[in-house]
Symmetry: C2
């Protein structure tokens, strides 16, 4: 039984904390929304007033917040976990943020004597609830070994990708493919429908061959049944593609289809769709064609 | 045992003919390259001087030639199978060509009393050899029932998609997804590599989740091992994307990522890569970044 910290108690963080508590650990938690702490303090967790208080009370702090500036704030802002040196402590950032800023955060934490891992997850709220997240880790193997028992309570597959930032890099690569595969499916089903073929029959035929993908299996059906009200939100997909394009600009890479797909998401979002599932990408292509897939 | 015709005896047509002969049928064959007929006449097939001769000798004629103008020529050109009326005959076009022109060909054949199916295949030379092609069929169900025993000798999965052109539409949709999934993998692996992560570790981590696809499983490995010398050629991928973009223009559809991906293939082809595997798409992105995935 360890004293563990958790910062960021939203739709992902809350169930992840519950799995750590169920695993027998004592939790110290913090969120900028104090109400988010209540379900966890009801389970015996200690609510803290700052991230720093979390860090000082525990041997490892897990973070899952929305975006890069949020990680910056909870680490280095007022009351931030790493506002002062704290030799020997470990911070595990499970947010999905910029790989390049992650490398910088790791260096700044190292200067305070704090070890960092980047450990973004895939699997969504369902995976967080069931403790079956896929976790992609960047940082030192020795530090990963120290926190692995806790990650095992939250995830099913834990992959050490490489040095600081490599976990975020893998997550960005994952999100590039997810978005672009989805966009490919949208173009293909729109094409099939407009050319007069039944898109569901086409989808079924394609699932047997070289065009198959997890996205075609799962989200292809969502697109055709127009089930846009759940799942992975457009605004989160936009953030991930932004992290890809921002890093690509700094690295000197051309990612043409990532860029074009982000533009389509911007159109979906501009039409009020930012909280829809990312399969709502079809709406932008349909609007361009003034034609609805049927 | 039926008298069957086959026009187009290339890398696909030749093994498909052999499977029909092995199935006990008598073949009448034609190719603009007379030498292509030799392996089949050696097996007992009858070599013909024109496509028309093939049609007149048989109850169903299968065609597999490179592109739309080739189908036009073998049907309606000098000595073409459908140069004159031929009531009750069946033509099954297994080439991968324009869905819109296919509808027109079907109408012109109908005017000559000839039934047509479009029945493009996927599975490549390996599938043609082993008789395990996936065949996507457009046209009448009754006509499909008549030729189905012969298609069963060439393919494993035969899917009736819909009316004339629907088979070609499904094939184009398939090829849009194949090319765009491949492009997504290229962007993601290039990104991962340039950001300092090991691309093979990233690929393996991603195969466990939402980013997985047949292309990631198979061609992701080809990209990383730079195995560009075999498989599905860039020039054929370009033809398929051309059929998508040409039909999209006529139908009034915007296919942004299909268009951008075709441009990248044009760059690969322009650099002498038209006979490489379509995974050689990575070469264009690498050239833009002046960086090679390692």
């Amino acid at each position: 039984m360890a004293n563990l910290g958790f910062i960021g108690l939203g739709l992902m963080g809350n169930p992840m904390c519950r799995n750590l508590i169920k695993g027998g650990h004592r939790l110290f938690v913090y969120d900028i929304e104090p109400q988010s702490m209540v379900p966890l303090t009801d389970m015996g967790a200690t609510g803290c007033k700052t991230g720093r208080e979390v860090l000082e009370s525990t041997e490892a702090v897990f973070i899952i917040v929305p975006d890069t500036p949020d990680v910056d704030a909870v680490l280095f802002g007022p009351g931030g976990a790493a506002a002062k040196p704290a030799p020997g402590k470990v911070v595990v950032d499970m947010s999905s943020i910029s790989p390049l800023d992650t490398k910088e955060f790791a260096a700044r934490l190292a200067a305070q004597g704090i070890e960092m891992l980047d450990a973004p997850v895939s699997g969504g709220e369902v995976g967080a609830e069931s403790g079956t997240l896929s976790i992609m880790v960047g940082g030192s193997a020795a530090v990963l070994a120290r926190v692995r028992p806790y990650l095992d309570l939250m995830g099913k597959t834990i992959t050490h990708i490489g040095d600081h930032g490599a976990g975020q890099t893998a997550k960005v690569a994952n999100q590039i493919i997810v978005a672009l595969n989805l966009e490919a499916i949208c173009e293909a089903l729109l094409f099939a429908s407009k050319a007069g073929a039944d898109p569901e029959r086409v989808r079924r035929a394609l699932m047997g061959g070289a065009a198959n993908s997890r996205m075609l299996e799962i989200k292809g059906e969502w697109i055709l049944s127009r089930r846009f009200q759940a799942g992975f939100r457009v605004k989160h997909q936009q953030k991930d593609l932004h992290n890809a394009l921002d890093a690509a600009r700094k690295l000197g890479l051309t990612l043409p289809n990532t860029a074009a797909t982000q533009e389509l998401y911007n159109a979906v979002s501009g039409d009020g769709g930012s909280d829809l599932d990312h399969s709502a990408l079809i709406l932008a292509l349909e609007r361009l064609a003034n034609y609805k897939v049927t």
